[in-house]
């Protein structure tokens, strides 16, 4: 049975949402894994949830990258295990170098908590194969540092290699090229600022996020 690790750092606060969704909606086996653990051998996918790991001290995600568990995440990602980092999870993936670029303060400096519309940029990756290019997804964002930046060469490389998974339709935070989510070169690591785990049940206003999790689960197992 598919087993997913939901990492927990001091300050994570979307870990329970992710756990609930994977366990109760997708009916897969899920475990919380504490940041001081260092073994992910028994897991088929890894989710790095949102929150404020280490209080966002220094820079978002900067301290979390030195947690023992992150060495293991990097190691497993190199072996093709799917890794999805949401919000603060995306920030951590950038800090530890699994994804390129950085996330800086939103253009208007405010913390943004609102629903956004995303456009699917391709349906080739393991995170988007249940979607179609051009599909629109609706889900919440909740962040202050979600403004994606990278140098021109990196942006071009992401675009040319279909590594931009999602773009904002009405860019809320100033991200370059309206980028909301990107993948790594091998296609098994996704980082995104919007929260698909908060959009997996119609009762919450949208269940568009389900398609992303279903893509991972179906493509791998």
């Amino acid at each position: 049975m598919t087993k997913c690790a939901v990492l927990v750092f001091p300050g994570s606060n979307c870990d329970n949402d992710a756990y609930f969704v994977l366990k109760n909606i997708f009916k897969i086996e899920v475990s919380f894994v504490w940041h001081k653990d260092s073994n992910l051998d028994s897991y088929h996918m890894i989710l790095i949830p949102g929150g404020f790991s280490y209080g966002d001290y220094l820079r978002t995600g900067a301290i979390a990258k030195f947690s023992p568990i992150m060495k293991e995440v990097v190691s497993k990602s190199k072996k093709g295990i799917p890794v999805i980092g949401i919000c603060n999870g995306f920030q951590i993936l950038l800090e530890c170098g699994l994804l390129p670029g950085a996330l800086i303060n939103n253009k208007n400096i405010k913390f943004l908590s609102q629903n956004v519309k995303l456009e699917v940029q391709d349906n080739l990756s393991m995170f988007t194969n249940k979607l179609n290019k051009g599909d629109t997804l609706e889900m919440p964002i909740a962040h202050k540092q979600g403004n994606y930046i990278a140098d021109i060469d990196t942006i071009r490389m992401l675009k040319d290699n279909n590594r931009i998974a999602f773009k904002y339709l009405n860019n809320p935070n100033g991200s370059q090229l309206d980028i909301a989510g990107i993948t790594n070169e091998e296609g098994n690591v996704l980082g995104m600022m919007p929260h698909p785990e908060r959009a997996c049940d119609k009762i919450l206003g949208s269940d568009d996020g389900k398609l992303i999790f279903q893509s991972i689960i179906d493509s791998r197992f």
């Binding site: 950085a102 303060n105 208007n108 930046i149 990278a150 140098d151």
Partner: protein, 81 residues
């Protein structure tokens, strides 16, 4: 011995905090500021080590953790207390 470390955004990186603060100063009548950016200042105190060792520790710390080279630049000075 002490290291004084200064971290700032690279040119061209959006610094809304600096911009808003500059505008605020302007709005209360402080004239002559062309631009204002807000960075970080970190102070590091050392045990009994040489200046070269202190220099290396400060530089390594910036490279390994304190600075994100994608968005920030840094400088530091080593001073005797």
């Amino acid at each position: 011995m002490k290291a004084k470390i200064f971290i700032k955004y690279k040119d061209g990186i959006l610094d809304p905090q600096g911009k808003v603060t500059g505008n605020a100063l302007n709005s209360i009548g402080v004239k002559g500021i062309e631009s204002l950016s807000i960075g970080k200042y970190i102070e590091m105190e050392f045990d009994d080590i040489t200046r070269d060792e202190a220099d290396k520790i400060a530089n390594d710390s910036c490279k390994k953790l304190l600075v994100n080279p994608n968005t920030q630049t840094y400088s530091y000075e080593i001073i005797n207390d």
